[in-house]
């Protein structure tokens, strides 16, 4: 399988002061489901953020798709992000927009027609079992429902990779299972690469996927 992410001697820091990853080497293959785990403050979220260009590498090589992120221009990063789906622990939905408009955001950015947006949004909301919530606002939904909207938004443009930062961090067990199912389905059925950052190490290890553990500024693969 070709790599979607390639990191060589990668160093990352947050606030340009605290180095969290130093000279790390790893890759993420196309279509795989991978967990990134580690203790608090180990740099999990920083690493995930670097994968969509939110943080630029201090040193080394970080390639996502065909794009080398260290020297990528703003327009190249914008282009990359239209091929990614991102899921946040706190959902990051726009509260003044309806559920349908939130899900349609990546389609709107890609310039899809209104008709096509509506069709796609309907299909996606049906997929996450929220078809009757299209005209509601995020603040009218429970946490689990909001995260399903977040997943639907991430899936909207059939992305090459989904990046999920603690996607079940704020959810109860039932809602967590629904979200895991949605992410696993995306990987299995759509061959989408799914990268999940979680601090729930036992849960991550209960699932049969690759694991990268961040510890002492290094990135280690655990089989």
């Amino acid at each position: 399988m070709p790599s979607v992410v390639e990191a060589r001697s990668l160093s990352l820091s947050y606030n340009k002061e605290h180095t969290v990853i130093e000279k790390a080497n790893f890759n993420i293959r196309k279509g795989e489901f991978i967990f990134i785990t580690g203790p608090s403050g180990s740099g999990k979220s920083t690493l995930l953020k670097s994968l969509y260009g939110g943080i630029k590498p201090d040193a080394g090589l970080l390639k996502v798709g065909e794009l080398e992120l260290k020297n990528a221009t703003t327009s190249k990063l914008q282009e990359l992000r239209t091929h990614l789906g991102i899921v946040f622990q706190d959902y990051k939905l726009v509260n003044e927009w309806t559920v349908a408009k939130n899900v349609a955001l990546p389609l709107m950015i890609a310039g899809y027609s209104m008709d096509l947006q509506q069709t796609q949004v309907h299909r996606l909301l049906k997929h996450v079992k929220l078809e009757n919530y299209a005209n509601r606002y995020p603040y009218e939904l429970s946490g689990g429902e909001q995260q399903r909207v977040g997943v639907a938004r991430a899936l909207a443009k059939n992305p090459m990779m989904i990046l999920a930062d603690e996607p079940t961090g704020n959810l109860d067990d039932y809602s967590s299972n629904v979200v895991w199912d949605l992410l696993e389905n995306a990987c299995v059925q759509l061959q989408t690469t799914v990268v999940v950052v979680t601090h729930k190490i036992p849960m991550a290890f209960s699932l049969p996927y690759r694991h990268l553990i961040l510890e002492n500024k290094g990135v280690y693969e655990v089989h």
């Binding site: 939110g54 914008q78 991102i86 950015i109």
Partner: protein, 271 residues
């Protein structure tokens, strides 16, 4: 209601800034009109033993527009009452040439003094009377009032600018979340700031219409400002068609700077 309040919070300072710009434009035009009026009604008197033409005067100073010789017989009539004919003849022979001099542009006190000096050192002129006192006193008062008003406009502009900055903070608060989420999903700057631009552009149009409407009204129906001739006689100068464009582009510039500042400060680094 909240939306109207948000619009007003930007429209009011914008109106104040545009009001300042319009006042500035009006005072510049009124100053020109006043200088023109002063220039047209002003004449200085030069006395010379020789016969001089306008070109002779212009060779001394280019700001001289014309010179008209005062008929010596007219002067003689005034001063020869009760004189013997031979004495009148003698007076006529001794009488120099008097010239009324008009200027091509308004000169301030220093300019008039300089002109007087140039005429005197030319060797052709014996005496110059500038009637400077009445010429400059009203103008100095006008200039002082204009200076005070410009200071007031500047102060008003600064206060309004602070209100605009305050409103930018409110915009930042309202629109930050949406713009950051859009940026994460790869939306270009124009798409991220589109809503904010539409809101601010609408406010700019409303503000321009308010100011243009007020001054167009005064320009059309005249204005009564307690007998200040220079304003009442030139009410057509209160709003010229080009002013609308100046106001709109000023408002637009404010909008672009404000929105761009808000968008720039809403980068995703906080996420």
């Amino acid at each position: 209601m909240k939306s109207i309040k948000n619009h007003l919070m930007f429209i009011l300072p914008l109106v104040a800034i545009l009001l300042g710009i319009q006042f500035f434009l009006i005072f510049e035009r009124l100053t020109d009109a006043y200088e023109e009026k002063l220039k047209n009604s002003y004449t200085m008197l030069a006395v010379s033993d020789k016969e001089l033409t306008t070109k002779d005067f212009q060779a001394i100073n280019a700001n001289i527009a014309s010179s008209v010789k005062v008929e010596r017989n007219e002067i003689l009539k005034e001063i020869s009452v009760g004189q013997k004919p031979e004495d009148v003849e003698e007076i006529l022979n001794a009488l120099p040439n008097f010239y009324n001099i008009k200027l091509s542009k308004y000169l301030d006190t220093d300019g008039i003094e300089k002109l007087k000096k140039q005429l005197m050192v030319s060797g052709k002129i014996k005496k110059v009377e500038t009637f400077e006192g009445s010429y400059s006193s009203n103008y100095k008062l006008f200039k002082f009032i204009k200076f005070i008003l410009n200071l007031f406009i500047l102060f008003m502009g600064l206060v309004s600018l602070f209100l605009v900055i305050k409103q930018m903070e409110v915009w930042g608060y309202i629109h930050k979340e949406r713009m950051q989420v859009m940026e994460i999903f790869g939306a270009p700057l124009m798409l991220r700031s589109g809503i904010l631009f539409r809101v601010a552009f609408f406010d700019a149009i409303i503000s321009t219409f308010i100011i243009a409407g007020i001054f167009l009204f005064f320009s059309y129906y005249g204005v009564n400002v307690g007998g200040i001739d220079i304003v009442e006689q030139n009410s057509n100068l209160l709003f010229l068609p080009f002013d609308g464009a100046i106001l709109f582009f000023s408002a637009l510039l404010m909008v672009i700077i404000s929105v761009y500042s808000v968008v720039s400060s809403s980068k995703e680094k906080d996420i």
